[in-house]
Amino acid sequence: MAPLLEIDDLDITYRTSSGDLRAVTDASISIDANEYYGLVGESGCGKSTLAGAVTNSLDQNGDITGGTVTYRGEEIQDYSEEEYNDEIRWKEIAVIPQSAMNSLNPLSRISEQAIEVAEAHTDWSEEKAVDKLEELFGVVGLPASRVHDYPHQFSGGMKQRAIIAFSLLLDPSMIIADEPTTALDVIMQDQFLKHLDELREIRDFSLLFITHDIAVVFEMCDSMAVMHGGQVAERGDTTALFDDPHHPYTLLLQRAFPDIRYPNRKLEGIDGTPPALENEVDYCTFADRCPWAEPECRERAPPTEVVPGDAEHASACVRSDEVATLAARDLEDVDDDHGEPAGADAGADRGGDESILSLRGLNKHFSQSTNVLDTIRASVFGGEQDAVRAVDGVDLELKENQIQGVIGESGCGKSTLLQTLMGKYEPTEGEIVFDGTPVSSFDKADWKEYRRRVQIILQDPFNTLNPHFSVRETLLEPLRIHDMERSEERVLDVLEQVRLTPAEEYIDRNESQLSGGEKQRVSIARALILEPDVILADEPVSMLDVSTQASVLDMLNELTDEYGVSMLYISHDLSTVSYVCDRVNVMYLGRLVESAPTMDLLTDPKHPYTRSLLQAIPVPDPHHEREWAELPGTPGDASDLGTGCRFRDRCPDRMDVCERMPRQADVGDDHRAACHLHYEHGSGDDPAPTAATDGGER
């Protein structure tokens, strides 16, 4: 049977003022009817450009300069916009965009928008379009009665489903999803993937799933292609690529990717960065990063060759049949990476005995009202009924030389917590104690010293550096602010610490001469140069590609070991958190619902929310059958909480007693959880609450 979509030797070139740039070179993939196909690669690898050629949505300066795109036996690469709109768009090939959340026009009803789509491509009546949308709402599990709603009346998860319904509106044979889950929290991603997966049972269509997340592809797709530098490095069955990779990049990408099942496995970053675009690409674009590159690799683009015995499996590497042996040879000195989760030092907490930073019953509430009258009313008649309890009774002891994680979905209060620690907000209640002294007793000089000893690393290395500063200036600046000795030596030192070597080479660069990973290293260096005791890290690797993530995470780990820094690592991503942290705290709507040494948390999660979070993480292994987390709804709003357990509306184990706020109780060795499932009620040996304050029961 001929494939539904066949891309053959496709070249795509961007015309720019500085000459032509080749974004995709000689790419070939083919997708069968009803097949789920994954296209993975790091940012800039050309995967979205490739999809743009299929959806006739390349940027104005992007041209197909060679090869063919064949859909149902018809060459469509040269279609004009009109032709494509008339024959293919939405009727044959539909798209799920990157941010389904904001893709519907907030000013029009959803049904009106569906009518417009039908009008643009069919001769359907309005009724027919609405009927169809109602039917599809049923398919994706939305109430048909809500087709006339405005998008803002839908929750995030519902918008996701509405977008899936939209993609199915004209019964396409193919759906292209471009990074549809990148902006989502893990629970939302899980719901989205579940819907896509279930859809296979009821509808016939092929899916081209474009993502940087190899785990999602291994879970969802039948076949896949890995792209690097505009070239398709390897393609074939997902299982074949997993079990028997024939391209070094596929193999290294797998090794760089964290797997929640093996949190102690050493992640290996891939050196270097994807090459900048050029016009002529007649070499292996992976050569600069490949540990096994040979002179031949740079002489010509390696031809794509089929792996013997598997006609679907092909790789573009001159050493493709050696990859397995090369990898095995290199691995000999490294210990078994798929070993038992709890390795020798796994459970060991490197933290010392002394707390450097402790939070005691910390609260940060925001009054919601912007209206003077309401504020007066609230202050006269008491109560802050509609205050947002962003942080609500958080207890945490960060020990010297320890990394602790705080994990939760967006809106759980972790950012507010961080900002309160930075002194941006004053706590509504509770106390922050730093090195034995309560922060509330600080005078101006103490604050200055605190700001030196407690440093922060932010999520986005692209915004945190001054583009006009060289690395040297960036690093000298904090020394100047804190009246510390400014020496070149110190700067070189700290650059070595963050592994920007040779340091002499980096010191004079400015922001534009640094890659994403290098920028993040510079911002870490900027924090380190002040010799802090505590680093607050806010999603420090979430903007980085997997290949660089691993090495930054390793570096953070080593810094703690070598220099005795403590770190509070805040993230929504449990896999990276568990890779670096000694202890993990799970936060849900302002409260810590569970807190345990990393290994205990992963192997024996107590709180139903923690269990769901763990469950929702995709596993980068096509042989692994993961069950969906099945966590309904979204966290909701931190202002309208009632008195019971904050998780009760979503909790699968909810009981009557959950109408009362559960308190933090010891549930194991140094392991605490706030859930009624885990302590006895009313008996004499009721475990003593560990928290000084117990907000919910007042």
């Binding site: 959806t55 939405w90 519907l104 907030p106 000013l107 417009e116 491509h121 405005y150 803002h152």
Partner: protein, 327 residues
Amino acid sequence: MSQLYYYARRTVVSILLIFAIATFLFFAFRFMPGDYATLLLQQGASPEQVAKVRQMWGLDQPLYVQYFKWLSNMAQGNAGMSRQFNEPVLEVVLPALRNSLIVALPGVLVAFVLGSLYGALMGSRPNSLLEKYGIIPPNIVGTTPDFFIGILLLTVFSAWLGWFPSGSIASVDTLTSTSGWGIYLTSDFWYHYTLPFLTVVIKYMYYPTLVMRGSVVEVRNQEFATYQRLLGLGKWRRFRHIMKHASLPVVTVLPAVTATSISGLVLIEIVFNWPGIGQLLLTSVFARDTPVIQFMFLLIAAWIVIGNFIVDIAYTIIDPRITIEGE
């Protein structure tokens, strides 16, 4: 229900606000040095005459008595007497207001419509010559003082070309042969109307053009616009979606611009010798005609309060995301 409640509350608040402003104005004007009577004195009136005038206007009574008198008069639609014309304030102000609004309202509205369209056009053609250089003319015009534009138009179209008259609301013949609203029906009026109207349009196109241009550029890059391109909706259809979004900030500046246009109006009316509130305000200030000034300030304040109210309502119509319970 909540909607009704909201409007009711807004109405009450607006009325209270206007009342507060009126009160403030009343006292502010009482405490200002140099009232009308003092002016008479400077002009050579004898102290006895001044006292008589003061008594006639009740200026000799205690302040709170004056205030309550003034309040009860206002409540009955009596804004007092103009001192310079010796006529009821309303009869002085209303015709002037009418003359002004007939220029200002259509002028500002047309400016907003044209400016929005022009701004949208610029914003929707990235990297075009229009986008690069199209902003220059509105920038020049926007930073030129209003009266200067008026003078320029007068010089070109009246003095040089002789196409339009050089000022006033109508020729003497028309003014004597018609009265009240009748004047607006004469072609002579519209002949006089053209240049002041154009001045207002040209001057006030600046804001909406600028705001709309930026707004369209921003909205074009919003995800829904990208998605609509992928959906294959027609160009015109997409432009309409973008316009609707992008017009929100333009609607926001509308009342503020109309309100500030009053200051510009003063100058434009002087240039064109247009008998509107701008002129009236000026002559009243020179004549220390406090009842008239006070009433006109009140009108302007009321317009801003009411205008904002109208914009809020318009917002809820355009943007369904805005819930009006004020939660």
